[in-house]
């Protein structure tokens, strides 16, 4: 069943332009100039119910604008969109009962109050029965491990703690779909991991679909089944994360440790040496040119192997490559 269907979606903004300095400001006062910025340019995609879809792209790619159109916050200039059967900008209130939203840069918890008070208020906003609200808060408290945080004023929580409470609050009314806009922005590795674990658990237990925007490729790797990569308001790539890796992760990284010292000018045919240590070496090879078994036999013939690790390069590099390709195709 389709949760989100978007066809030829477009959104433009008018931005005022002015030359630098006081002179520019005075000129702009009498002769204002406007530029049209195309934030979303003919975007089309679909998302299934219960799917974990990553919407990834650099700053200014149109990710947040798209998610704001899909939640009914912004009106598009063209195209169609249906979210859980609703047209977001026409049926915003009905849709809001069915979805949860988190904007990483815009907190929804009341700053001066403990999170529990916002949870209770959200119970009223979503017209939940008091008994259900209590039960749900207890469940989310366990799922997000926020028992110790609920009664502390939000202003005294760390960013990571606050984000856990934010995501938990967005799930209070048991939404069918969760729209997360940069939920991991500014978080450290441990806090990111906490949030990702909780989202994964909720998705598995309650079948809630997740549309996640991020400019951090590790969010995508950790959470999503499928990815849409956008740049300049257009889709430059969409496929399963596993396919993305298969197609683009043709280069492997190898780290080897030998029992004896490694030669300073260590080099093997078909491999590029990145770093040489006393007993270890870091190399890279292209699987299309050098098969992995050939690499392994060459490495073992070079000395007594103590340890070996073969890994993919970070997804960031892959995405940078896709952006580069899209730019060249233009």
């Amino acid at each position: 069943m389709t949760a989100i269907s978007v066809s030829n979606l477009q959104k433009t903004f008018q931005t005022k332009r002015k030359a630098a300095g006081l002179g520019g400001s005075v000129r702009a006062l009498f002769q204002p100039e406007y530029a049209t910025v195309e934030a979303v340019r003919g975007l089309s995609f679909e998302m299934e119910q219960g799917e974990l879809l990553g919407f990834i792209g650099p700053n200014g790619a149109g990710k947040s604008t798209t998610i704001k159109i899909l939640t009914g916050i912004l009106h598009p200039n063209g195209g169609q969109a249906s979210v859980l059967g609703f047209t977001p900008w026409k049926e915003r209130q009905k849709l809001a009962f069915q979805i949860g939203t988190v904007f990483g840069q815009r907190p929804q918890l009341w700053y001066h109050l403990p999170a529990i008070d916002t949870f209770t208020l959200f119970g009223k906003i979503y017209e939940l029965d008091d008994a259900f609200t209590k039960k749900r808060i207890a469940f989310l408290t366990e799922a997000f491990e926020i028992g110790d945080l609920l009664e502390t004023p939000v202003r005294k929580l760390s960013l990571g703690q606050r984000m856990r409470c934010e995501v938990a609050a967005s799930l209070l009314h048991k939404p069918k779909l969760l729209l997360l806009d940069e939920p991991s922005i500014g978080l450290d590795v441990v806090a990111k991991q906490h949030i990702r674990d909780a989202i994964r658990t909720m998705s598995a237990e309650e079948g809630v679909g997740v549309l996640l925007t991020s400019h951090d490729a590790s969010d995508l790797e950790a959470l999503c089944h499928r990815v849409i990569i956008v740049n300049h308001g257009q889709i430059v790539y969409q496929d399963k994360v596993s396919n993305l890796k298969r197609k683009f992760l043709t280069r492997k990284l190898v780290e080897v440790r030998y029992a004896e010292e490694v030669a300073k000018n260590f080099a093997l045919e078909g491999m590029e040496t990145l770093k040489t240590g006393r007993y270890g070496v870091k190399l890279t090879f292209d699987t299309r040119q050098t098969p992995a078994d050939a690499v392994l036999s060459r490495l073992s013939s070079a000395g007594t192997l103590v340890d070996i690790t073969i890994s993919d390069p970070p997804l960031e590099e892959v995405i940078a490559m896709i952006y580069e390709q899209a730019r060249e195709e233009k």
Partner: protein, 260 residues
């Protein structure tokens, strides 16, 4: 019914937030009452010297100031975001209200309570009692007049602040308009000629926040009741429509926000 529960829940949360800073709440309330007292002393001195201005005396001033201050206080206490709606619009902070399943305007306005509003509200009641016309009937009329004045004032703020949808940063303009509204609301209406009165019933509807509600509080007439109810309803309808027309132009924003 669910809308009433929702608005009560918001006000309760506002009160909880105010209680987090109890000392600030009390000092702002008392401070505003003192501030109003200091301001009103000028009128006491003035009317001591001139007795009346075209039939307008100190007692009228007490009632007009009372109804205006209480109306102002109600808006500040219960719909505190009416004062910075323009800022909310230009900084893209309507996103929060738009992502929740409630009427965006009502939700946005009610989500902030200005503590000093309590001082204005209480001072207004004291001013009315000091006017010398207090009876329980008059108190009932004063209450209705205050509610109507509050609707007029909130509607005016919504209209002025909604200009931000079209002109961007409108904080200076809305600040000027709000000051004009408050100033003219507490001036004796008798000092204005007919053309000025037209302005005070239309562009800056200060008469519907001060003189007309005060007149109703002093004595019941069907004419002033009709003026109050029609004026307040009409302004509210215009305000809500202007806000929703502007909302279609809302552009959100990417400013990082750290608190609500």
């Amino acid at each position: 019914m669910s809308s009433i529960k929702f608005i009560l829940a918001i006000w309760k949360t506002n009160l909880q937030a105010a209680m987090e800073y109890r000392a600030s709440f009390l000092t702002q309330t008392i401070g505003m009452m003192l501030n109003n007292t200091m301001y009103f002393i000028i009128w006491v001195v003035f009317f001591d010297r001139f007795k009346d201005v075209r039939g307008w005396g100190l007692s009228d001033m007490y009632v007009t100031f009372g109804v205006s201050a209480s109306a102002f206080g109600l808006v500040a206490l219960f719909f505190g975001n009416a004062f910075n709606l323009g800022d909310i619009i230009t900084k893209g902070r309507l996103d929060y209200y738009l992502s929740l399943p409630r009427p965006v305007l009502m939700h946005a306005l009610a989500s902030r309570s200005v503590s000093s509003g309590m001082g204005d509200f209480l001072y207004g009641i004291l001013s009315f009692i000091a006017s010398g016309i207090f009876t329980w009937d008059a108190m009932l009329r004063f209450s209705l007049a205050t509610l109507s004045g509050a609707v007029v004032f909130a509607s005016f703020l919504i209209i002025v602040q909604s200009l931000a949808f079209w002109i961007g940063n409108s904080s200076n303009l809305s600040g000027l308009a709000t000051n004009a509204m408050i100033t003219f609301a507490i001036y004796p209406i008798t000092i204005f000629d007919n053309s000025a009165k037209i302005i005070l019933f239309t562009i800056i509807p200060a008469a519907l926040m001060g003189a007309v509600p005060a007149s109703f509080a002093r004595a019941f007439t069907w004419q002033t009741l009709a003026q109050l109810l029609l004026g307040a309803s009409l302004l509210l309808i215009i305000a809500v429509n202007i806000f929703h027309t502007g909302l279609k132009l809302y552009e959100s924003g990417s400013a990082i926000q750290t608190e609500i």
